[in-house]
Symmetry: C2
Subunit: 360 residues, 2 copies
């Protein structure tokens, strides 16, 4: 673990509300609710599912207003999807953006059940001038000095992909309040900001959407003056379950010597993960064994057998996908701290008798 | 919100893993899983419920080993219980202890279902010399330089109280991994550290238990040299749902002027909450209206009608219980940062047109 500049009270307030995946929870192929990472920009809104409606309109021929029952009566699909926050790793960038202070573990994988979006748009009749689809949540607040509802857009072609869902259930249960009850968008492969929660409106538009979360937030910029490129799909990343047992405060690891099977998960939003590698003490990268992915849009497990010798060690892991995306040794800095997929580092103290180890 | 000294990386690591109740979730009488506060000292252990057993032994005549099925076949009780971390408010103490950096919202209320502990102990036949009962979890790690399993004791008289449960379900569902699957202790009225998760053993002992979490941790000390008094039951505390809408980063609140019903919850582990008061801008404390408690061991709702005028405001709330316990204006400092029940403070900007407010 790198050292970082001291965290501010504002960052702590966000860290207290939101939470990452405790790394040992990587053992679950599907992350149990409550362990999946969670980022709520504003407040979780109070929604009465009985009176809630989804308004689909804008540049369509037949605007429609749908109840949850009407949505649930449509064709259903269940898909395992890995979601990662675009700001994952933000705190390890130097200098760092002041926002939700993620370390490396803002991720989770769940089975989302809902109805595909594309047929709904097709039935509504999308105008020829349409270029984007805007998704508006019921949550509202100020960011960057501007009061707005949380809303994000997708290019029309992305919105029409067959795997894009309007989801009302996660891991077989109705969405809990924090994950977007009663309905959220799921855009497999894209970073978490895309999957708009507490969805109230879908609006087809004929010009690029200029809302704050789209035009200012979630862009790769080197300075305030730049527009920057939009953040879209998840870069590859591998994470490992820290081996051994933790020290409560430092989270450093203690382990007995001998054979130790390291295990973790790896994902990419661009293409299947085709290689995971492990490096011990800065040495050569060696290939881990890959398990089957849960779906085309979810992480796959990996294992690597390590012979743990007495002493201090640093473990790293990294993934590469079939599209040629990799994890760079050093992160690519950007102003707002997005897409830092530099390899995870885990420090481990290996000792014969853990009871006698003095933890610094 | 008071200002505090900058948070360290180690504290951030804990804040990323663990999480508090987002304050708007106070609207739920029973906290949904995933919103309830969570503190895991070491790692969440992997437990196979099928082969798991609870060992009840020590100073008893008939030690017993029980499967989950055998426990579930015993008398069942479901009880709404408010759980709060003993370290809630730690970060607002000055100087502060370096540990999980809680602000004010490490709390939650759930319905726990399990079997009462007392009949199990009575059937096992507690020896006359017995003074305490030790509860041992499957989680293990280092704290204070000592490797140990998480374990805590209760005086025999407390362990025999009829409301103490061995719980396998929360809000009607099997315990999720993070809340102690397959079995946890629930000791209504006591701070969270008492409710040992991933329970594997219950051991009746004839001398006070000297484990780290009992003899060093969770004691009210002014210095390292003191033994201090043990932390036990929850002091009274009221929390309110922050009114209006948030600014993402500062979490300051924006509200339109006019009638605003403030609402929240209040609890005490000693006796029923009998009064909640609200103070606006440091003015007189005025009584809120109380709702019914969910049980003898759970929070009760409260409301207070506030006339919000344009300008900057600070809201505070506090509770008092029937045993005479109150919330002091200033917290009582102690070395490890326990039991800080000073009143919550919420800053609100009231303005006619929120769209034009410039958030600092």
């Amino acid at each position: 673990m790198e050292t970082v500049a001291a965290i501010t009270l504002e960052e702590l307030q966000l860290a207290a509300r939101n939470h990452a995946l405790p790394l040992e929870a990587l053992r679950h192929p599907l992350t149990p609710v409550g362990l999946h990472y969670l980022l709520v920009h504003f407040d979780i809104p109070a929604v009465e599912a009985g009176s809630w409606r989804l308004e689909l309109g804008g540049r369509v021929e037949r605007p429609v207003s749908l109840t949850l029952e009407e949505l649930r009566a449509r064709p259903q699909r269940t898909l395992a999807v890995t979601l990662e926050c675009a700001g994952n790793g933000r705190v390890l960038l130097e200098p760092r953006a002041l926002s939700q202070p993620w370390l490396t573990e803002a991720v989770g994988t769940a089975e989302w059940t809902g109805t595909p979006l594309a047929p709904l748009l097709q039935e509504a009749g999308v105008d020829e001038e349409a270029v984007e689809v805007v998704f508006t949540g019921l949550d509202r607040g100020a960011q960057g000095g501007v009061v707005h509802p949380y809303e994000r857009s997708l290019p029309l072609g992305e919105a029409l992909r067959e795997e894009v869902l309007l989801a009302w259930a996660v891991n077989g249960e109705p969405l809990p309040p924090q994950h977007g009850h009663p309905l959220r968008l799921v855009v497999p492969g894209w970073y978490g900001m895309t999957h708009v929660k507490w969805l109230r409106a879908i609006t087809v538009v004929d010009a690029p959407f200029g809302g704050w979360q789209q035009a200012v937030g979630y862009r790769l910029r080197q300075s305030e003056d730049e527009d920057g490129e939009p953040v879209t799909r998840m870069l590859p990343r591998a994470l490992m379950i820290p081996p051994g047992i933790p020290d409560f405060f430092s989270r450093s690891r203690l382990l007995e010597p001998g054979r130790c099977v390291l295990e973790g998960r790896a994902w990419s939003g661009f293409a299947p993960v085709e290689r995971v590698e492990v490096s011990v003490d800065g040495g050569r990268w060696e290939e881990a064994e890959l398990g089957a992915p849960l779906s085309d849009y979810a992480w796959r497990g990996w294992t690597y057998e390590w012979r743990a010798d007495v002493g201090e060690h640093e473990l790293r892991c990294r993934a590469a996908d079939a599209a040629g995306n990799t994890q760079p040794d050093e992160p690519a800095w950007n102003l707002d701290g997005y897409c830092n997929n530099a390899p995870q580092r885990i420090r481990v103290t290996v000792a014969d008798d853990l009871g006698t180890v003095v933890v610094a």
